[in-house]
């Protein structure tokens, strides 16, 4: 199939549907100006995929030379405006026209580029264009390129393009230029002739090859050599010989070698032979190797003998090359010749030959190689061991075991490695067979093979041999345990562990214990590790060394028990072991120690470990704050307090602010506290916009006052600046004052029942509930405590959308929760209560039936420690973080009280009472205002506006409803498939006021069609009001009537009133009869009359039959860019 046809079919398959429904596609009804067409292509650059690329390139090709020149005229010199889309278009086409079947287009492209080069004056642009011809250039453009070989700047790119084109014409123009050139251009031209292998300039280049200038000499020698012209031999030889065939800047030797190659290719084998032999006798090592390689290449028939002779050469590099070249000779013949060479050469050469034989894969060499297994020289033996393994495989096993039997440590090691790669069923039986006679060293090595190749079979033997009197064998058995020990072997390992004193053995046993423990399940591990309680102090030390890596609850318990039961002077070991723990579950354990040991000698190191571990652990910020707060409350020395406050500054969560805020009045710590607050609350360079709200502002004001010292004036200034620009939102507010239950009330019924109560009864019930609440909910030390009996404690205020942070803790068997909008509940419970399913952890939406009810992971802290929730509820969706871990991810919360209806839009928040003691503290809430941009104002309602977009779907709309999608309350067009296509109102409108908001991406292009039919190009069959990012550089040269807001081709709009791309604009279009007025962001940008504007023909010179239409659809007209729309409403007049 014709290639071009294939591409067009592909184009159709990929983009056909869009092309068809896209009224601006090229075709007979395409009335866009050339300039518009060029800009339309540029808007879509870069092409997003192959189909899009083909489409854009076809769009470009249709424009012909005038179009291509319009593109090239838009190129900018480096550093001027961004022309990358133009460069994409031109370079894209340079490659596209090289497709088969595009020869005519290629010619048009090349001739257009030539014209462009001629009419452009900037060297960098011309150089760019010449470089593009490197892709599409053909012989036809060669004379044109020749003109630039005299140009100091353009000679070089022109020469490169000529090399790429590689035609005889290239050679001609370069030759012509050679005589007239000098300096850098001369070097460029000679080198280019060299690349082309030109032989026609021999005489002239010979002269240049004698130049004093090393670069000129270098390229000249190269050109002479690559031409392969026999006349060049003398010059090349002399140049190389003068260097002693060494490497130097002119590359003389290398050119000479290249020359030999070219001579050989011309069939002058005799000459090659003479030259190579001379080099092999006189040149340095690597040049001799090169000569040998060339000789073999051109004299392959007689080469084998040359190679065999070369093996006697004292030069190892030369020999290695010769051996490698034997690969060119497959077959038994040369194998046998190599074998026969074995007897004649020194050991080290024999070893090399054997290695080569191993690589050859020719099995006829096996007998000789097996013979070499007993060679007295180790170098030969080791080579033979591996070659035997590679070639003979199974047949080598027994001989290899023999080598091992009497072997040196190197023999044993090499045989072991070789056995490991032999693929044979006979391997394992043969090893068992040979084991008894082996020395301890060999036996130990064979154990290593067995543990890999026969772990199950070897298991019992390993257990048995772990008691072998030979240390080497025991060690091998211990190493085997690491792979093959089962839980049942725990006791054997334990016994060995308490018996062996040798450090090496202890290390091996430690590894075995570690590996076994890690492969065990919790119960197995617990009983295995249990064996190790009551060890002697020395054994304990070895055991504790590996505990942090084993990890887990049992291991932690063992360390803790040891700490609390051992002698006062021995606590250092368990404490230090905890300090090395690899997981953060040791932090609460260190806290337990701190609680017990208020005045103890170990308090300081325990605190250091606690701090250090909190700092290094990968745990969420909120959890770290809890850990730090816990330590602060133990009143460590002020140095540590200072350190903690410093650490807090890297934990940008709200809780940090609250915690640090408590230290602003402490004269010793207030400086650090204030800096932390500033650090957390102020915007940072990476991502953080700064915290807002009343609490934040208060803390910042206070921090600003506290921070002292001139050196901090800048910091204070930053705080003041931020405060002055801070948005005026409420932010988080406390809903618990820390002192009493102000703002809280008792629970009366559920929200549905409550709503049905008559006010009097409700009031009474409320009084009773409040009385009860004060009996069971008490405030002490800033915490709301529940004593285990009674009902929920509820906020007086009702909340809709909000973010809530609250700390909580429970006691043994605890159960509680937080009701959101009067409904149960974000779950809180003691995870040990498996009988009710609490092992899943806290934080889940417990009463959900249809949607997930379990938390994503367990993030609870131990019972008795504080936990922290962050809960966000927007609409009916809830997100929960427990101790910084996301446990509920945007899940719909079901209405427990009536499952047929969604959750209540507003209701109180409740702390759940469920029969156990518990506490809450630091309860803060941030209310989230509802934002629905798709709403009519009261005024609009009165005036009779209708909402055209409901924020949810494309009801009222038709046309391309696939590329236009609804997301987060806005309509977005994604130009995935070229991004064209129009979205129309279902209804037709005549006179109307149309209001909408839109957001542009840089360079975006869309349009608003009015009074348009759904067929044809709305710009002509209806009217198009341009929607365009005017500021994009590619639109720099548009006509006045093409910029944003213009009635396309008819009435230009005022420019300069668009907001920057990425911000929302609001626009109003008022059309009544032929009067049209457009207001953009409050400014009238068009106020005209279409009849008036078109009575002497429109300014774009095109026909606009659509101007006469009285009514039609309103539509968004996609031109391949991402654009968003919202808040669309219309009023008919």
């Amino acid at each position: 199939m014709n290639h071009r046809k294939t591409i067009l079919i592909l184009l159709f398959m990929l983009t056909g549907s869009i092309v068809l429904c896209q009224t601006r596609a090229a075709g007979s009804d395409d009335q866009r100006t050339l300039k518009t067409k060029v800009v339309d292509v540029l808007t879509e650059m870069p092409a997003q995929d192959e189909g899009h690329y083909i489409k854009l390139m076809e769009d470009m090709l249709i424009l012909g030379e005038p179009g291509i020149l319009m593109f090239t005229d838009m190129l900018q010199p480096p550093g001027e405006e961004d022309d990358s889309r133009v460069r994409l278009a031109i370079s894209g086409l340079a490659k596209y026209v090289t497709n088969a079947g595009y020869e005519d287009e290629c010619e048009i492209f090349n001739s257009s580029i030539m014209k462009a080069i001629e009419r452009n004056e900037n060297d960098y642009i011309r150089s760019f264009l010449i470089s593009q011809l490197q892709f599409s250039g053909t012989d036809a453009i060669v004379p044109f390129l020749g003109k630039f070989l005299m140009d100091d700047f353009l000679c070089e790119p022109a020469a490169r393009t000529l090399i790429a084109i590689q035609s005889s014409g290239s050679e001609e123009v370069l030759l012509k230029a050679l005589g007239e050139s000098s300096g850098a251009n001369q070097i460029t031209i000679v080198k280019a002739l060299g690349d082309l292998g030109s032989a026609k300039a021999g005489k002239e280049i010979e002269k240049l090859a004698l130049s004093e200038k090393s670069e000129l000499r270098k390229v000249s020698l190269y050109a002479l050599a690559n031409s392969g012209s026999p006349d060049a031999e003398k010059i090349l030889f002399e140049a190389a010989n003068k260097t002693g065939f060494q490497y130097e800047q002119t590359g003389a030797t290398q050119s000479y070698m290249l020359f030999i190659k070219r001579i050989g290719e011309a069939g002058e084998t005799k000459v090659v032979e003479r030259m190579c032999h001379y080099l092999m006798d006189n040149a340095p090592s690597n040049i001799r190797s090169q000569a040998l390689s060339l000789l073999i290449y051109f004299k392959k028939d007689e080469g084998d003998q040359i190679l065999l002779d070369a093996l006697e050469d004292p030069d190892s590099q030369f020999r290695a090359t010769a051996l490698q070249l034997t690969n060119r000779y497959p077959g038994k013949d040369i194998t046998q010749k190599l074998v026969s060479k074995l007897d004649e050469t020194p050991a080290v050469v024999q070893a090399d030959i054997i290695r080569t034989l191993g690589e050859r894969g020719d099995q006829t060499a096996i007998p000789s190689i097996l013979d070499c297994l007993t060679h007295q020289d180790q170098v030969v033996r080791l080579s033979a061991v591996i070659a035997a393994g590679l070639l003979a495989g199974e047949a080598a096993i027994v001989p290899l075991l023999d080598v091992m039997h009497d072997g040196t440590p190197e023999d044993i090691n090499t045989v072991k490695g070789t056995l490991l790669f032999i693929d044979s069923d006979q391997l394992v039986p043969a090893i068992y067979n040979a084991l008894d006679e082996m020395t301890p060293k060999s036996k130990a090595a064979l154990f290593e093979v067995l543990v890999n190749r026969d772990p199950d079979g070897f298991h019992d033997l390993a257990v048995l041999e772990s008691g072998n009197p030979e240390k080497e064998i025991r060690l091998a058995a211990y190493s085997a345990f690491a792979i093959l020990a089962t839980p049942e072997d725990g006791e054997v390992i334990f016994k060995q562990f308490i018996t062996r004193k040798d450090p090496e053995e202890r290390k091996a046993l430690q590894n075995a214990i570690l590996s076994l423990a890690k492969r065990m399940d919790v119960a197995e591990q617990s009983s295995f590790l249990g064996m190790f309680s009551g060890l002697s102090p020395e054994n304990k030390q070895y055991f504790f060394e590996i505990l942090p890596e084993i990890g887990g609850k049992k291991a932690l318990d063992m360390v803790m028990t040891d700490y609390f039961t051992c002698e006062e002077n021995q606590k250092e070991l368990p404490l230090e072991t905890l300090g090395r723990w690899q997981t953060p579950d040791a932090i609460p354990r260190l806290y337990d120690i701190l609680l017990e040991e208020r005045m103890n000698y170990y308090r300081n190191p325990a605190m250091d470990y606690y701090l250090e571990m909190t700092k290094r652990s990968r745990i969420p910020d909120a959890q770290k704050v809890l850990f730090y707060r816990q330590l602060l409350e133990l009143s460590p020395c002020s140095d540590r307090e200072d350190e903690i406050l410093k650490q807090l500054s890297s934990l940008p969560v709200f809780q940090t602010l609250i915690l640090a805020g408590k230290y602003l009045d402490d004269p010793d710590l207030q400086q650090e506290a204030a800096r932390t607050i500033a650090q957390i609350a102020l915007p940072s360079e990476v991502g953080n916009d700064g915290m807002t709200g009343k609490i934040v502002a208060d803390l910042l004001r206070k921090a600003e006052k506290v921070i002292s010292g001139e050196e901090n004036e800048k910091e204070k200034q930053r705080i003041r600046e931020y405060l002055s620009s801070m948005p005026d939102d409420e932010g988080f507010v406390p809903i618990f004052n820390g002192k009493d239950l102000t703002g809280w009330q008792g629970l009366v019924e559920n929200p549905i029942a409550r709503a049905q109560m008559d006010p009097e009864a409700l009031k009474k019930a409320r009084q009773e509930a409040n009385r009860k609440m004060h009996e069971c909910w008490k405030v002490e030390d800033g915490v709301i405590w529940f004593n285990g009996e009674g009902a929920n404690c509820c906020t007086v205020k009702k909340y809709g959308d909000f973010e809530l942070v609250v700390d909580w803790k429970i006691t043994k068997n605890g159960d509680s929760g937080i009701y959101l909008r009067g409904s149960p509940q974000v779950q809180i419970w003691d995870t040990s209560r498996t009988e009710v399913g609490a092992q899943v952890g806290s934080g889940g939406l417990y009463n959900n039936q249809e949607h997930p009810s379990k938390p994503l992971l367990i993030a609870d802290n131990p019972v008795g420690d504080w936990n922290t929730f962050r809960i966000i509820m927007i609409g009916e969706r809830v997100t929960v973080w427990l101790n910084g871990y996301l446990v509920v991810d945007n899940v719909i919360m079901e209405n427990y009280w009536d499952r047929s209806q969604p959750i209540f839009p507003v209701e109180q928040i409740e702390l759940q009472a469920h029969g156990t003691n518990l506490g809450f503290r630091d309860i803060y809430i941030r209310e989230i205002p509802k934002t629905d941009h798709n709403q009519l104002t009261d005024e609009e309602k009165q005036e009779g506006f209708v909402q055209l977009f409901n924020g949810k779907d494309l009801q009222n709309w038709t046309g391309n409803t696939t590329d236009y999608v609804v997301e987060d309350g806005v309509i977005v067009i994604y130009p995935d498939k070229g991004g064209h296509g129009n979205l129309y109102t279902e209804k037709e409108y005549a006179d109307f006021i149309f209001r909408f908001e839109f957001q542009l991406t840089p360079g975006a292009n869309n349009g608003l069609g009015i009074r348009t039919p759904m067929e044809g190009d709305p710009a002509y069959v209806g009217m198009e009001l341009q929607i365009l990012d005017n500021t994009a550089p590619i639109y720099r040269r548009l006509e006045q009537w093409q910029y944003h807001g213009s009635v396309y081709g008819v009435i230009p709009a005022k420019r300069g009133f668009l907001k920057p791309a990425g911000e929302w604009n609001s626009e109003e279009v008022i059309i009544r009869g032929s009067d049209i007025k457009i207001i953009l962001n409050g400014t009238v940008i068009v106020d005209g009359n279409i009849t008036e504007a078109s009575k002497n023909g429109t300014i774009d010179g095109n026909k606009h039959p659509g101007l006469k239409r009285e009514k039609g659809h309103i539509g968004f007209l996609g031109h391949g860019s991402v654009v968003k729309f919202r808040n669309i409403r219309v009023k008919e007049l």
Binding site: M45, P46, P78, P157, A184, S293, T321, G361
Partner: protein, 423 residues
């Protein structure tokens, strides 16, 4: 179906025998032997290019550093500060190559220099330790292979996952994966997917910038020499040093940066060290002529049906790293074949490889990752680059290493160099 599982270990052996020698288990001190041109006791090296990456090479063990070279005098100054003893500084690599007391040349420049420097180092009789990607074009790679082999040089490419270190998300070296593949347990042919799901994140921060505003060349930088064989373009700091990968003239973005790290072990695993794919397909936005940008997918297909898929945007979130007709292997050595890890432990080892460069140099044996297999894995990178730049699929002839029926693609296999540079 049967046919696939009949690919036996022996076939793999045969394939790889032609390319790699392999004797890692001979201890270093027995190599070389006695009396017969003894290797020098102390190998010596020089580093060309001592930017961030090159300064890392100062610490590489095995040879004594005698000289460093850079076209930026600031780099030389920084490098001198971390060298333990005094080393000689050069600004022209050709002077370094002329020193007879240096055994090994480390090439740690941007890739547009690798080809020329590797060829000239071989011509100067040096052994070579070259940074990845091996060369910027396939044509330059062929020249390096030829120069290294004809001069009898020993060459190592500086990525190591095929023989050492934990292999990205697998928690193990590639060795057990190689054993698994050779055993035929997964069946044949295999498809390897390289994406974030399988443990390999394609990062696109190596994108170039368009419309750079020309800047004054700093006094300490020889910009013309930095460009060398690359076309002359006005200086901008983003073109050079740590951000050069974003420009086609010097490298190929994230593919050039991480490509060989990720793909080379896969080529080894699939036993494709002496061949190349026959079909290369890309799915990517159009590429700017100067600046590299991102891509979505590059797919390589070998003659026998094996595939390597580079999934730039991690679209295939359920992908296995290796998928064959009989089983799949996922990140973390997870598999749909039960007990696979235990099974793999009992399989024979792959052929041993020379993994110590000093040993390879002393015994004149090929290093595990050498000019030949390194060129093949770099060819994967370079084929991907050509297809990206042309925005079309390529058919490739692995034997002659040319693109079939696409003259333009072949123009990108051999790209003309700026005079006076030749390779």
């Amino acid at each position: 179906m049967k046919q696939k599982s009949e690919i036996k270990r022996r076939d793999f052996l045969k394939l790889s025998l032609t390319s790699a020698a392999a004797f890692t288990i001979i201890p270093r001190h027995v190599l070389g032997g006695k009396g017969f041109i003894p290797p020098s006791d102390q190998l010596t090296k020089a580093i060309i290019g001592v930017g961030g990456m090159g300064r890392g090479h100062i610490r590489y063990q095995g040879a004594k550093l005698l000289a460093i070279c850079d076209v930026d005098r600031e780099h030389l100054k920084l490098a001198q500060e971390i060298c333990e003893s005094n080393v000689d500084s050069y600004t022209d690599y050709r002077e370094v190559l002329q020193r007879s007391d240096i055994d090994i040349i480390h090439i740690v420049t941007p890739p547009h220099w690798h080809g020329i420097m590797a060829v000239e180092a071989a011509q100067a009789g040096k052994d070579i330790w070259c940074e990845k990607p091996m060369t910027r074009t396939i044509g330059e790679g062929k020249k390096v292979v030829q120069a290294v082999q004809q001069n009898g040089s020993i060459f190592r490419l500086n990525t190591w996952f095929r023989f050492a270190d934990s292999f990205y998300g697998f928690g193990t070296t590639v060795k057990p994966i190689k054993k698994l593949v050779e055993s035929g347990i997964l069946g044949w042919p295999l498809t390897a997917t390289i994406n974030a799901t399988t443990g390999f994140d394609w990062k696109f921060y190596w994108s170039g910038r368009t419309n750079l505003i020309p800047q004054t060349i700093p006094d300490h930088l020889d910009y013309n020499m930095w460009l060398g064989p690359a076309p002359y373009k006005p200086y901008h700091p983003h073109r050079v040093h740590s951000s050069f990968r974003g420009y086609w003239d010097y490298d190929g973005g994230g593919l050039g940066d991480m490509g060989q790290h990720y793909i080379d072990p896969v080529q080894y695993l699939l036993g494709k060290d002496s061949t190349s794919p026959v079909l290369i397909e890309v799915d990517a936005p159009q590429q700017h002529p100067d600046a590299v940008s991102s891509w979505r997918r590059i797919e390589y297909t070998y003659q026998d049906g094996c595939k390597i898929i580079l999934d730039g945007e991690n679209r295939e979130t359920n992908a296995a790293f290796l998928e064959g007709p009989d089983g799949r292997l996922f990140k973390g050595f997870k598999s749909d074949i039960p007990g696979l890890w235990e099974k793999v432990n009992t399989l024979p080892d792959p052929e041993p490889q020379v993994t110590d460069f000093a040993s390879a140099v002393r015994s004149r044996t090929k290093f595990a990752l050498n000019e030949e297999n390194g060129h093949r894995s770099c060819t994967l990178v370079n084929l991907g680059k050509i297809a990206l730049r042309l925005g079309r699929s390529l058919k490739f002839d692995p034997e002659n290493q040319v693109v079939i029926d696409d003259e333009l693609a072949n123009r990108l296999i051999h790209q003309p160099m700026r005079a006076p540079w030749i390779i």
